[in-house]
Symmetry: C2
Subunit: 552 residues, 2 copies
């Protein structure tokens, strides 16, 4: 028996319509790329987003066409965002921090028809243009006055592109599973893969992310999304802002400590979100100047594990609540949040911090489980670690153009519909998840798993160590055994093999003890600042363990 | 182009699964019908709800079957709630405050197969049983020890009904538009009509109601739903609790001031919801005893317009934030919420109170408009009033068994898919809605509308008036004209016709002035405490206006 409730398609136009009907004069403030602070409001953004749709329709853009942006967080990006998706086209937000050749590869793979770009990226795009095979129109996100000379063909200033267009474009009116956005993962191996969000997945995700224990944004809030709109929906903030009627403060291209802290103070920011590195800069600035973070009451931190110093600085020094979130592009992106439960209220501060440093509990609508190599579910005891699988309405089931497909229907899912995050994690009885390793870095020894990260963390603490890495190498009996690779600190006494092993003794299980310790001049670091284990594994592919020789 | 996100059906079993995975030991505390305080948690409620599903399946209950409850807010009601819906059956919550013959009519109309009832309602149901034609099993929500003698055939104690059942019932796995719940409106005219909620409508509604500006319940909250679970989903709290991991405090049958305030204090309640009359009792108790409402930080008030004294007592005397909500059974039920915007933060307190007394802004996912008799949309100027129409994923499109259908497809909607609330309201430029009248009470004079309630409110303030009502009577020229009906206060000097009109002069538009004033000994009051205008219109159906005689 079907219910008798209205058929109301969860399309994203409903979000901006809601903002216009209820908060037309709530502000969107931007540190513009041209320089000055710019002010507009939801009523005008709604009108101009309609004009964007009209202008695109004029360029024969139809439902399903991919429209790209290479842009910072600004009001114009927000207008394009809704103008594209609300007409049924697909907003492809390109990460400008990728290598230029990757950007060209992505734009061609997506088949982008129009590219909206900030002035910042004009030199880059001019260089790439000969290799961009599908883009017919370049819209520079500026006005005629600031429009530079350009070698780009079919380039037009944004303000000219939309000027004088009608504001009556009919948005929505299509299935909620229609594609709304496209975002490529910057996969560490292989080509980037496109995650194709739907209107439904984005709306459900925004509703869930804005629950009280996660972002909790309301009409009295002032929200500064430092996380870029080209990073997986700016963690949903571009949707949550108009949904909740919050004032948005857009930082444009300036994400340094002074610029960010200045906006927080002058615009009365109450909530903000960014990766840890931004906060390290901002906190340093606050410490050096003795300033305080104004009315800020809550920061969301994700994208990388949060350093304890950052957590404590916000919560203890400034009284700002930290929401530790974890996720991935394939999860729209938020998967977990770190809010503590009532029973933890009276726990000692160190215990609270320990819990907050975990990746957190599942956001409502996200199901999580850990499994072993055979796919068998493992206990939620906070100790056993296994492959972390996730399921939910805002989790990807496949990649654009079936890249990486594992099944005939093009999906990349496990047989039971779960998505493999590629992480290895523990889950405790209260659902708190902690990532212990990347699945490909786990060492599989005699059918059991050894966490490379756990050993590394202890090894890093040994005297004279600049950097330490653990990888698995082939072993005839145990399949794999760990070796510890050490980069000695310059100027310090180089630690010995025996000293390293003695340092680990008692800290890790006996059978986790590395079978060998190898010293190198430099451990390779990847573009994201993490140890490049792929490179390390290549370096040691012909390495034969002393213990392996013994076993043969 | 379709997005590539997972197909995840929004079925309500996901809510309880989420609670079990993340907050298994968060409590549900109940003032039990048997007397003592009872404590359980989400982990155990999950298990026992599975047992309910098994027990019902044993009674050959299948998807689509209607299963009724006549019950207060208790942990057992919560178990039945999820046990029924999660297996695809339809939970029919019957309002025990209806007339007994209405209860029987409703149960027969719904075709209920099983009835779960509290001990409180056993005498009532025993009397009704001969007229209950579809119920095969009666489950008394108690244990064997408290099971009374009963004349009901096939009656069983709840604890015996579920005892020893397995906990592995497979929930969900069906379309999210599947019917989940059935609730009849206690329509003032005609037979009650059934609103058939779907899994989807209930889940979206719960996500929206729990946004920061509405209920804002998180894992550290302790929530006391005084609003009964038989009133339109307890305003979504039975879903929000397990979704957010909040501790639930269930008041059972005792909703008086001392009982409610005792629970608030002893259980550390932070958020609660009820109709205004409950608060009037509770506030009186607090005032008389000098007690304070413990840790309470937020109350949701709805179901009837909120008296200013209640609003001010909470906000000014006790520092408790009031969320004024408006809705109706057909809206799941919440339609609007009263949160103020940032720009009102510095408004004088009286202006803030005036805004908070309005019915509020649209909940996200609710679209509202006001239209004239021809269906033309009216301006949002805060003055013009028109029929209030609503649209959204949690708004009814039809009633059970096509009752009241206006269209061949069985729906009751307007041509553009909006639902007519039957209210007349204004909307201001910020979306704040204010109900000015019931549509059927509005007086239509010369093509314009006159609000009966506005005139009544002024007339009530005249000396010597106990009660005042305004209705429209037929007029040959103007179609309808208002007359003022006055019940003089006992013991006071009865006011004169002239004095009444003089009192209104200057307060209302000239053409709103009643054409006559009539005095009656008693103005009829309906079961809900409101003026019975239907009865009044009957009393005055043959009344001829002096002005009508003049016009003829």
């Amino acid at each position: 028996m079907q219910g008798l409730m209205q058929d109301w398609s969860m399309t994203l136009d409903k979000i901006l319509d809601h903002a216009r009907a209820n908060y037309p004069d709530v502000e969107i403030v931007t540190r513009s790329i041209e320089g000055p602070i710019h002010r507009t409001n939801y009523g005008r953004v709604w009108e101009r987003a309609k004009q964007v749709s009209h202008a695109l329709a004029d360029k024969r853009v139809v439902q399903g066409d991919r429209i790209a942006t290479l842009a910072w967080n600004t009001w114009r990006h927000l207008e394009v965002w809704f103008g594209v998706s609300n007409m049924g086209a697909v907003l492809h937000t390109i990460n400008p921090r990728l290598f230029p050749e990757q950007i060209a590869w992505i734009a061609n793979h997506a088949g982008d028809k129009v590219l909206f770009l900030d002035l910042t990226f004009l030199p880059l795009v001019e260089k790439l243009a000969p290799n961009l095979h599908t883009i017919e129109t370049y819209v520079i996100l500026t006005d005629r006055e600031h429009m530079p000379q350009t070698s780009l063909k079919n380039a037009i200033a944004y303000e000219d592109f939309i000027a004088g267009r009608p504001t009556d474009y009919r948005w929505g009116d299509f299935d909620e599973n229609t594609a709304a956005g496209l975002c490529y993962t910057s996969g560490t191996t292989g080509d980037p893969k496109g995650v194709l969000y739907s209107h439904r997945s984005n709306m459900i995700h925004a509703m869930c992310v804005n629950q009280k224990d996660c972002f909790a944004v309301g009409v009295e809030d002032v929200v500064l999304p430092i996380v870029p709109m080209f990073h997986a929906n700016a963690w949903a903030i571009a949707f949550i802002g108009p949904m909740a009627g919050a004032k948005l403060v857009m930082p444009g291209a300036k994400l340094d400590g002074p610029s960010v802290c200045d906006l927080i103070e002058t615009e009365g920011v109450t909530m903000t979100a960014a990766v840890p590195t931004v906060w390290m800069m901002a906190l340093q600035y606050l410490r050096e100047t003795g300033k305080r973070p104004g009315k800020l009451r809550r920061v969301a931190i994700g994208g990388a594990a949060i350093p304890e110093t950052v957590l404590r600085a916000f919560e203890e020094d400034y009284g700002v609540e930290v929401v530790h979130a974890w996720g991935m592009t394939e999860m729209s992106p938020v998967g977990t949040l770190g809010a503590l439960q009532a029973k933890h209220a009276n726990a000692p501060i160190d215990e609270r911090m320990r819990l907050k440093l975990k990746q957190g509990r599942a956001l409502f609508s996200v199901e999580m489980k850990i499994v072993d190599d055979a796919g068998k579910e493992l206990p939620h005891d906070g100790k056993t670690f296994g492959r972390l699988l996730v399921r939910g309405p805002s989790v990807a089931k496949a990649y654009f153009r079936n890249e990486g497909a594992r099944r005939p229907d093009g999906t990349v899912l496990e047989a039971d519909g779960f998505f493999d995050t590629g992480d290895v994690a523990t889950l405790d009885p209260d659902g708190y998840m902690q990532i212990t390793d990347r699945a490909k870095d786990v060492i599989k020894s005699g059918g059991e798993w050894i966490s490379s990260i756990d050993i590394e963390n202890f090894a890093m603490g040994a005297p004279g160590v600049a950097c330490a890495a653990v990888i698995g190498v082939k072993h005839p009996k145990w399949d794999e055994r760990p070796i510890l690779i050490v980069e000695p600190r310059a100027g310090a006494d180089a630690p010995s093999r025996e000293a390293m092993l003695a340092h680990l003794e008692g800290k890790i299980a006996k059978w986790w003890m590395p079978d060998d310790v190898v010293f190198v001049a430099k451990i390779p670091i990847g573009a994201t600042g993490k140890i490049n284990k792929l490179e390390l594994r290549k370096m040691f592919q012909d390495y034969v363990l002393p213990s392996a020789q013994a076993a043969e």
